[in-house]
């Protein structure tokens, strides 16, 4: 395919849609990190179970992914809060090697989740064959956009808008922000730190649940699906800057655009090289990412 102005605009448009979705996948990771300085190494597996949940709702109850999305997000909310209460709560208490304990306890969880997925769902690749939006495209002045990705991009923008409102305008958002700044002092004004953290984990997981429901419309579902998206999510968050949820939004868009442009120049199997190179370039110039505070 020759590279013309049209193909460039076409791939940048798809890149932008994918980038918004990357932002949504990374939002929960950024939220949890910003709240309590913990990187969830099982984030990709959270995405994986959200995709399976969407798939099975479709396969057994014929629920379209679009309708399943809120259900999956709610289920992931509960799951995230439980993971905090059962594992992360204890990991952050570690007196020695706190960083390592967080990395490896969540990484161990990731391995268990992958094992469980293999055990219950087998390693087979599954896909949702005929959802309302799946396989459809719209043409906007000669540029073809896949409808599932377009829906994903819109959901992502809506989710970030809601998140902004939530963090800045609600009591819980203020409690979240206060706990983030000083987890010790908030106890003095009657905020239960553990409750805030659990809800933060729930919210972070719910966001990735939303992303998983959308992804299941156009991507294969299999036990290792999370691993490839997890690394992109880490890069997205770091690119935007740890501690900044909206950095993840900007980071996602950049990652999507860079990935699409790399695919124009290099063979498709090397398209991630562009993302990684841009990450390195950005942090070599700005060691705290684009909007990072920590």
């Amino acid at each position: 395919m020759p590279v013309t102005a049209e193909t460039i605009i076409q791939s940048l448009a798809s890149g932008l849609l994918m980038g918004l979705l990357y932002g949504l996948i990374a939002a929960g990771l950024a939220l949890i990190f910003g709240l309590m300085d913990v990187v969830n190494f099982a984030h990709g597996e959270f995405l994986m179970i959200a995709m399976y949940a969407t798939f099975f709702l479709f396969a057994f109850f014929a629920v379209d992914p679009l309708l399943a999305a809120p259900l999956v997000a709610a289920a992931l909310f509960v799951f995230g809060a439980v993971v905090y209460l059962l594992i992360v709560r204890f990991a952050v208490r570690a007196k020695a090697n706190a960083g390592m304990v967080q990395i490896f306890s969540t990484f161990g969880l990731a391995i268990v989740m992958r094992g469980l997925a293999q055990f219950f769902f087998t390693p087979d690749y599954r896909s949702i064959t005929h959802s309302w939006l799946g396989g459809k495209t719209v043409s906007i002045s000669g540029i073809f956009l896949p409808v599932p990705q377009l829906a994903g991009a819109l959901v992502s923008i809506a989710a970030f808008g809601a998140l902004y409102f939530f963090i800045n305008r609600t009591d819980f958002g203020r409690a979240l922000e206060a706990t983030r700044e000083d987890a010790g002092a908030v106890a003095l004004v009657g905020i239960d730190k553990n409750r805030v953290f659990a809800l933060g984990w729930g919210l972070g997981a719910a966001l990735v649940g939303l992303a998983g429901a959308i992804m299941a419309m156009f991507f294969y579902v299999y036990p290792d699906v999370g691993a490839s998206f997890a690394l992109i999510a880490y890069v997205t968050v770091a690119l935007g800057g740890f501690g900044s949820v909206f950095g993840a939004f900007a980071g996602g868009i950049i990652v999507g655009l860079v990935e699409a442009s790399t695919a124009l120049i290099l063979p498709p199997s090397l398209k991630s090289v562009g993302i990684y190179a841009v990450y390195l370039l950005v942090v070599f110039i700005r060691p705290r990412g684009l909007f990072g505070s920590i």
């Binding site: 990190f33 990187v39 594992i87 204890f90 990991a91 570690a94 007196k95 020695a96 090697n97 706190a98 960083g99 390592m100 304990v101 990395i103 490896f104 306890s105 990484f107 161990g108 969880l109 990731a110 391995i111 268990v112 989740m113 992958r114 094992g115 469980l116 997925a117 293999q118 055990f119 087998t122 390693p123 036990p223 691993a227 690394l231 880490y234 890069v235 770091a238 740890f242 063979p267 199997s269 090397l270 991630s272 090289v273 990684y276 190179a277 990450y279 390195l280 942090v283 070599f284 060691p287 705290r288 990412g289 920590i294």
Partner: protein, 326 residues
């Protein structure tokens, strides 16, 4: 206090020597090839984790991209041997030197990064290398390299009939990695590294050249890891990018040190002795079903150990030892 430290170091050396001799005698009694294979892997991971521990444990620069140096060692040896007929011993040395140089070249920009930004940089650099090797046709691309069998000899470091030579080499490598760590622990470098790990700003103000300390740790760590990679290429006689440079490998190298005790002399050894047989046994006894039960068991153990023993399993031993003195 100082004499106590010197005493401890002398005792460590004696204990290590006794362990090494006992380990060298084990194959006289254990003839089972399957068990010998596990022992070779255990020793290899003890050496690798010890090397990783130098940069990540002692110097505090957590690398989750050490698969890069392991892969470079493996590929240098395999490519030099298959393409130019260069003996693996030279490949091993060459791979180690190339890795040390690359570690410093990468360290130059990366060591300005801190915390998670550094960790992610190490991951993506290894990932870039993995993708490049997967697309590098001359080096076999994704299919990898089959190392041709030219008959058993120490000169060509190939043994098809017995695992014992590999066992003794791996034991030697584990001993060298341990000794290098032992020696560095009480050298100027060792003290610099611990200062850099605890508080880089304070260390800098006390005259520690933080940047050079990190570069030194990276070079030693990468060299030893690459030698491990060269060994692995000879041991399995087939390599491909995913199996020597994949992200999983970086984690597997770090795990023994983390579980045994990060930044400690005995942590990687203890971690490898517990973890590697466990991994191999769960894989072959319950992993055969292909249904991920081994992953469930293995992952659960990682979660439980890291939560229950954040300072690593060596803590169990030193506490008992202190109690005995009292």
């Amino acid at each position: 206090m100082d004499t106590g430290f010197a005493q401890r170091r002398r005792r460590d050396l004696v204990v290590a020597a006794v362990f090494a001799v006992l380990a060298a005698l084990v194959p006289l009694f254990v003839k089972d090839v399957y068990v010998q294979n596990i022992m070779v892997l255990t020793l290899m991971y003890a050496a690798l984790s010890q090397s990783w521990n130098i940069l990540s444990g002692y110097c505090g620069q957590i690398s989750l991209g050490h698969a890069l140096y392991f892969g470079l060692g493996a590929y240098t040896t395999a490519l030099l041997f298959t393409k130019f007929g260069v003996l693996p011993w030279f490949g091993m040395l060459g791979g180690g030197l190339i890795s040390a140089v690359i570690a410093m070249a990468l360290g130059y920009p990366c060591f300005r990064l801190r915390g998670h930004y550094f960790v992610i940089a190490t991951i993506v650099i290894a990932e870039i290398a993995l993708l490049l090797f997967q697309n590098w046709n001359w080096a076999g691309a994704a299919l990898g390299i089959d190392i041709p069998v030219r008959g058993d000899s120490w000169l060509k470091f190939q043994f098809t009939r017995s695992k014992l030579p590999y066992f003794y080499f791996a034991l030697g490598l584990a001993c060298v990695a341990w000794l290098v760590t032992w020696w560095l622990e009480d050298s100027k470098w060792g003290y610099w590294w611990r200062a850099v790990k605890d508080n880089p700003d304070a260390a800098e103000s006390l005259g520690v050249v933080v940047f050079n300390s990190k570069m030194g740790a990276a070079a030693v760590s990468a060299f030893l890891t690459a030698v491990g990679g060269s060994f692995y290429a000879q041991f399995v006689s087939y390599i491909d990018p995913e199996s020597v440079m994949g992200f999983q490998f970086s984690l597997l190298m770090a795990l023994p040190a983390v579980l045994g005790g990060i930044g400690t002399l005995w942590g990687p050894v203890l971690g490898a002795i517990i973890l590697i047989p466990l991994t191999e046994l769960t894989r072959s006894f319950i992993g055969g079903s292909g249904r991920g039960v081994d992953l469930i068991v293995y992952g659960t153990l990682i979660v439980l150990i890291s939560l229950a023993r954040p300072e690593g399993l060596v803590g169990l031993f030193s506490r008992r030892r202190k109690g005995a003195v009292r």
